[in-house]
Amino acid sequence: MTDKFDKAPAEEPPEDSPVAKGAATTAVTAPPEQIKAIPVRHWGRWVSGVIVVALLGTLVYAFAQGNVRWDTVGDFIFDDRILGGMGRTLLISVLSMAIGLVLGVVFAVMRLSKNPVTGAVAWLYIWFFRGTPVFVQLLLWFNLGLVFEYVNLGPVYKDEMVDVMTPFMVALLGLGLNEGAYMAEIVRAGIQSVDEGQTEAAHALGMNNSKTMRRVVLPQAMRVIVPPTGNEFINLLKTSSLVAVVSYVDLTRAAQNIGSTSFAVMELLLVASVWYLVLTSIFSVGQFYLERRYARGSLRTLPPTPWQKVKANMLSLTSPRGV
């Protein structure tokens, strides 16, 4: 940062500097005259700016005029049922993501393995769970009792399917298995992005395949895996609203329940939107720091955190020729 500021004054050497004096003996004494030109007027920018602001104003006006009871939104924003629903949305998203991560790593490694059977099984799994809508998958799990009356694990466990497939289990299996298929492809891309020389170096040191994968390949693959995984999680957070159809009371379902009984459908959907935005914003910040951590070693200097950026901007405001 500082060297940029230091360089700034050098563009106009002060008159008493040795350079200026040296020049004075040969020719001109005054510093070169600054160019004074009339700047180009960007009329297009002004016009488009005005149009956008006008459209935005119309939208705000429409909502202000519309039959939305904003005080109701405020009333319900911290309602226990809403907060409970949000908790369950978070819970199901985090657990599904955890399942998705584990399955993703397992199926990615299976797909890359030399064993043709595991490779084919992994391919089949990804093909099915990526090729059908989550909505349909959730309904499939929900209705599993129609084809299997009992869950029978021999002497270990036996129960009726309808008792096992609670809304929670359906949501967890539906979202988790679907996520696993997407994560498998992300992890596979990550593993394949690591240079082959890394595996060779690890092998040459006497590491076996699993150590090489865990200690050398996966940590480097993480740099490629983390950004899309963050997107996946934020996507999942919103996709989880589909579990409302299998009667799992998440944020969306809670908002709908209250909305339909208190005749404030739109207001409660806005409440839900606010909380979804809060959650996705928080996780976006988390993603930034996670990416920064896995950039260790691959970047010479890490990207600045938002706080560091703010500090830098404050500095540049105080200096005349800031960035």
């Binding site: 170096a201 092998h203 040191l205 006497g206 940590p219 480097q220 260790r296």
Partner: protein, 253 residues
């Protein structure tokens, strides 16, 4: 005295490409053995066969009296399991042309990694040795740096320290200075010279004829998958017998 490395009629091919066409050679313990030749002559491939990064198709190749990649029982050969191959590799250090340091670990962590993970050594012990080794290659002050923060020459010296951390009885160098700026080559060669003086058995694929002449005990000139000429480096380099060797040396010297 048994040879450290013994190759008898070693062949290697990738599909239709016949890379090694019957290599016979012997490397004695404590010897600095240089492999030179034009690119594509198979010298790197042969080096990679020695620690089983490549599997040979015919012939016999042994390190310290043990067959590479196979176990012999009666007159039958059995392929080794991955874990057995890994165990063999512990005793053989390898230095690559492109360094291949682990970029997510600091220099110190790179050197500590194998003793801790492969031998199950205590971290304190591994750390002490890693610090000693980094000091030996002249990089004690770079222990906390990541590879991306080091120059090519420094990275290669860390890579040598990393290989030495496993206390190997044989070191393989695959064109260790070919990816370096000319002014950084000297530092790496100095470290290798020091190793040679300590009696390490080294097989070095190189284009540094000065190093081969000064430090090498034996030299083999390879071309098109066969050994063309072998002998004392000073004799071969100053008085080559074979036309192909003469032609090659006239270009590189």
């Amino acid at each position: 005295m048994t040879a450290m490395v013994k190759a008898e009629g070693v062949h290697k091919s990738y599909g239709a490409a016949h890379i090694l066409k019957g290599i016979d050679l012997e490397v004695a313990p404590r010897e600095v053995f240089c492999l030179v030749g034009p690119s594509g002559s198979g010298k790197s491939t042969f080096l990679r066969c020695i620690n089983h990064l490549e599997q040979i198709n015919a012939g016999r190749l042994s390190v310290d009296g043990r067959l590479v990649g196979y176990r012999e029982k009666g007159d039958k050969l059995y392929e080794l399991k991955d874990s057995e191959v890994a165990a063999h590799r512990r005793d053989i250090g390898m230095v690559f042309q492109r360094f291949n340091l682990f970029p997510h670990m600091t220099a110190l962590e790179n050197v500590m990694e194998a003793p801790v993970q492969v031998k199950g050594e205590a971290k304190a012990v591994a750390r002490a040795r890693a610090e000693r080794l980094l000091d030996r290659v002249g990089l004690a002050d770079k222990a906390g740096n990541y590879p991306s923060q080091l120059s090519g020459g420094q990275q290669q010296r860390v890579a040598i320290a990393r290989a030495l951390a496993m206390e190997p009885k044989l070191m393989l160098f695959d064109e260790p200075t070919s990816a370096l700026d000319p002014e950084l080559v000297g530092d790496v060669l100095d470290v290798m010279r020091g190793l040679a003086e300590d009696g390490m058995t080294m097989i070095v694929v190189t284009h540094e004829m000065g190093f081969a002449r000064e430090v090498g005990d034996a030299l083999v000139f390879m071309d098109d998958g066969v050994v063309v000429e072998a002998g004392n480096p000073r004799d071969v380099l100053t008085n080559p017998q074979h036309d192909r060797t003469k032609a090659f040396l006239s270009k590189v010297l």
